[in-house]
Amino acid sequence: MTSLRIAGGTIYDPANGIDGAVGDICIRDGTIVADLPADAPRVDAAGMVVMAGAIDIHAHVAASSVNQARRLLPEQHAADPFAAPRLTSVVANGGTGDVVIPRSGTGGTVPSTFTTGYRYAGLGYTTVFDAAVAPISARDTHAQFDDTPIVDTGCFVLMGNDAYLLKQIAAGEKERARQYVAWLLGATKGYSVKIVNPGGVELWKENVREVRSLDDAVGDPKVTPRAILETLTEAANELNLPHPVHIHCNNLGQAGNVATTLESMRTTAGRRAHFTHLQFHAYAGERGKTWSSGAKQITEYLAQHPETSGDVGQVMFGQACTLTADGAVEYMLHKSGGGRWVNVDIELETGCGIVPYTYRDKAAVAALQWVVGLELFLLSPDPWRLVLSTDHPNGGTFLSYPRLIHLLMDRAFRDEQLKAINQKMIAGSALADGLAREYTLQEIAIITRAGPARLLGLSNKGHLGPGADADVTVYTRDDDRTRMFETPRYVVKAGTLVVEEGQLRRAPAGARHSVRPEYDRAVERDIKTYMDRYLTVAFENYPA
């Protein structure tokens, strides 16, 4: 295996307290080491910015729902072809095992798998988690991951509307619920528990389109969004999962939903919990009447609760594709916009909804969403616990991350856009009143690397200390932050130089992150009885 010295760069490594110090990063056998012989191969990074490889804590890149969205968007793919890269060394993964074939593909808001891997790496991202995998379709996800080169991957498994879990809650069987969570994570090769609209997806299947409170009954009166949140949060914490529970709250996208979000946060208080794409859950006002920003209420809660974390789910103007397990939301969006709509109810587990969508800066709600996301960032009490995401491709694609970083780092750039957007709903918002904060490079390193790594429990990632995985990104310093973060000069993945002089040169396979918590094997009998009775895939074949 090779050695590499990245020499003389300006290092931003917040996990190790290094904030802009000039130094070398030494790599041997895929790992960062303290030093190397003087004659080891080197790249000159003098004057450049060196950070760990970036980590996307929440994206949709390889689920069955993602493939449904891909299939829906031929016109986007046609407009964004991706020719096979000219790789200098064929090391791994062209979809063919040991043979490496550089692969072409297509982009748009939901790119093909190879293009997804290449483009993430091209932005300096080296780890990506798919945030919503239906358990029964886990094999599909892992196959798509196999065809997503370079980046490390992992997935969160949808459980918040799972009929077996809800049965355990109805029966007061907390212990069995926990055993089931452990079993299901192992069976699906998942990384963490995902909750989407707890109970609300099941209600949507029953034609109940709205969750009014966390205490709404989901079939059985003992089964409520609150009980689902409590059961799964407790189970995940007791199982000591590296990333305990990843929550998409009820009432996504509704005016006034910040109350639901805060109530959900209070329900998990005292236990670790991650609340995702908070921008979509941080609206004050009243349903059907008024909309305003509720960002401040969220950041105030986070300031008081170190056990709670989140990612933002920023909306970026332009084309997006909304895709979620939250089927009810997508029907609403379809009815309000009139566009194409896909819904797939997934047997006794979860749902899937897809609506291609464009956020226009002249549209009042989109403008408010943009403001709410930026307020969450700019009012954040702790960048370690409120990290960057656009909920790719829901709020915008991962290709918009450099521009988002630019908005955070450059107030003049931000204010210029603020002036141009629809003002109807943003009067009196904190951003409109003037938020001066500009993120530093160190803070960017936190919200894109060190923070996500810590929240995911990936101790070897997101930093550059000895023993860390050798995932490193080197940027050419540029006041135009969009340009700077769009085109890293070098990207190293597990010790392999994948981007050289801004060009993709190698495409090794990434690693898969999964957990296999211990559980009492006795629970399998009950699960098997249930599956034999109701599911259409045999327990013995289920799923990954």
Partner: protein
């Protein structure tokens, strides 16, 4: 490859006895005879032959057969070593001006991935039977989206089930027993008697005989019937329709559907020839409109052989579910209507790689390939009637080879081979890809 590809059977599976008289039994085998993907088949093997496929229907039993496949490697009509055949195959398609990679039935998704990689590398065209049999529905869903569900959701929840012009007994024999309407469901504990079954017979395509309500339309009336049904669902039925008119029949149908809490519309995604291709969009429109007031999912049944898997793999690798041309060095969508499915590509094809059971290649494609030199890699390749320059026999995915396949509703399934010994299609294609990739001149 990740360990997701390692298909170690779980402890509960496989051989229950080794008594040769009793035979070797493999349980929980997935059948790819049609798109239903039943995974409860117990395959009995005696003396290297399948003697029984328990639980399998007529189509399944035929698909499993006795499991005997030829194991030959032929170059230019002569027996050859596999190494020689791989080289010859690479010569045939690697030096050709315009290559078609045709993914036929009975290969795993893993083999499909390798086949598409070869097409990408050679700047060829990829297609599958989907273009000939199901393009209309896929194109319609791309235009307007679709409201769907997996088969288990229907089984557990649907209280109204409409079979629209699909002859289940003939084409999907176990559907009614395994998915709906017969089985007990979590929310339909009474099974069949807890559900209303509605049938629309279209021409000669008759639904189940025990319908609670049925209407009949001629093949010519089908699309009009869909439009009228949708209008009635949207509250715009024609006033004063004459009794027994199409208006009156569809209005009655609409009211039956709207009375459901969770309505499943079951239709055939690969119907017999002669049905109006516009019907696919009509079904999508009915399903969408029902969701305004109740819940509704459309189930589009597809044929077997992991045909649906090609759509899925092509989609994740290229962005398109069928008919992909890599001539420009990137995927381009070249879909065709079913009427022109025989015109595979708008450019000359001088060689083809046919992957899978070549007997599943539709007649129109077969005609198109009449003058084209073919490399055939798949079950019974050596018996292919195509212009076969190179033939490499392999096993059948799901019978001899493991991996993944997709059910008609896009649910991924584990394949659990009951027989061993046949050559692996996946390994053969990987070897071919490696040979092509290793050649100094390389692809275009």
């Amino acid at each position: 490859m990740s360990d997701a590809d390692a298909d170690a059977p779980p402890p509960t599976s496989a051989a229950r006895g080794t008594d040769p008289a009793a035979g070797q039994i493999t349980d929980h085998v997935t059948c790819l005879g049609c798109g239903c993907g039943c995974d409860d088949i117990s395959v009995v093997v005696r003396a290297g032959k399948i003697t029984e496929a328990r639980n399998a229907c007529r189509i399944g039993a035929q698909w499993f057969g006795d499991g005997v496949v030829p194991n030959r490697v032929r170059v230019g009509g002569q027996d050859a070593t596999i190494e020689r055949a791989i080289e010859a195959a690479a010569d045939t398609i690697g030096k050709a001006d315009g290559v078609l990679v045709y993914v036929a039935d009975d290969v795993s998704c893993e083999a499909q991935r390798a086949a598409i990689a070869i097409a990408d590398m050679l700047h060829g065209t990829v297609d599958s039977a989907t273009s000939s049999t199901a393009a209309g529905g896929i194109l319609a869903a791309q235009r307007r989206g679709r409201a769907a569900a997996t088969l288990g959701e229907i089984r557990n929840r649907a209280d109204v089930i409409l079979f629209w012009g699909v002859d289940l007994a003939d084409r999907y024999p176990r559907f009614t027993k395994r998915y709906a309407p017969d089985p007990e469901g979590l929310f339909v504990p009474q099974g069949r008697i807890g559900r209303a079954v509605i049938v629309v017979d279209v021409g000669a395509e008759n639904g189940p005989s025990d319908a609670d309500f049925r209407i009949r339309v001629s093949a010519n009336e089908e699309v009009a019937a869909q439009a009228l049904t949708r209008a009635a669902i949207l509250g715009r039925a024609a006033p004063n329709a004459a009794p027994d008119s199409l208006d009156a029949r569809t209005a009655a149908l609409a009211s039956k559907l709207m009375a459901g809490k969770y309505v499943a519309l079951i239709t055939d995604g690969e119907p017999v020839a002669g049905r109006d291709p516009s019907r696919a969009e009509g079904m999508l429109a009915i399903a969408e409109s029902l969701n305004a007031s109740t819940r509704c999912a459309l189930i589009t049944l597809r044929a077997g052989g992991n045909r649906v898997g090609v759509d899925a793999v092509l989609t994740w690798q290229t962005g398109y579910p069928m008919a992909v041309d890599f001539a420009r060095g990137y995927p381009r969508y070249v879909p065709r209507s079913e009427a022109t499915a025989d015109r595979i590509a708008d450019r000359k094809v001088s060689a083809a790689l046919v992957v899978g059971s070549s007997k599943s290649v539709p007649d129109a494609v077969r005609e198109y390939l009449a003058d084209v030199r073919c490399v055939v890699v798949g079950p019974h390749a050596s018996e292919s009637t195509l212009q076969t320059a190179v033939a490499i026999d392999t096993g059948v995915a799901g019978i001899h080879e493991g991996g993944m396949a997709f059910r008609t509703d896009d649910i991924p399934l584990r394949l659990r081979p009951a027989l061993s010994g046949a050559r692996s299609a996946r390994e053969t294609l990987l070897a071919l890809a490696a040979t092509l990739a290793g050649r100094p001149s390389g692809p275009a």
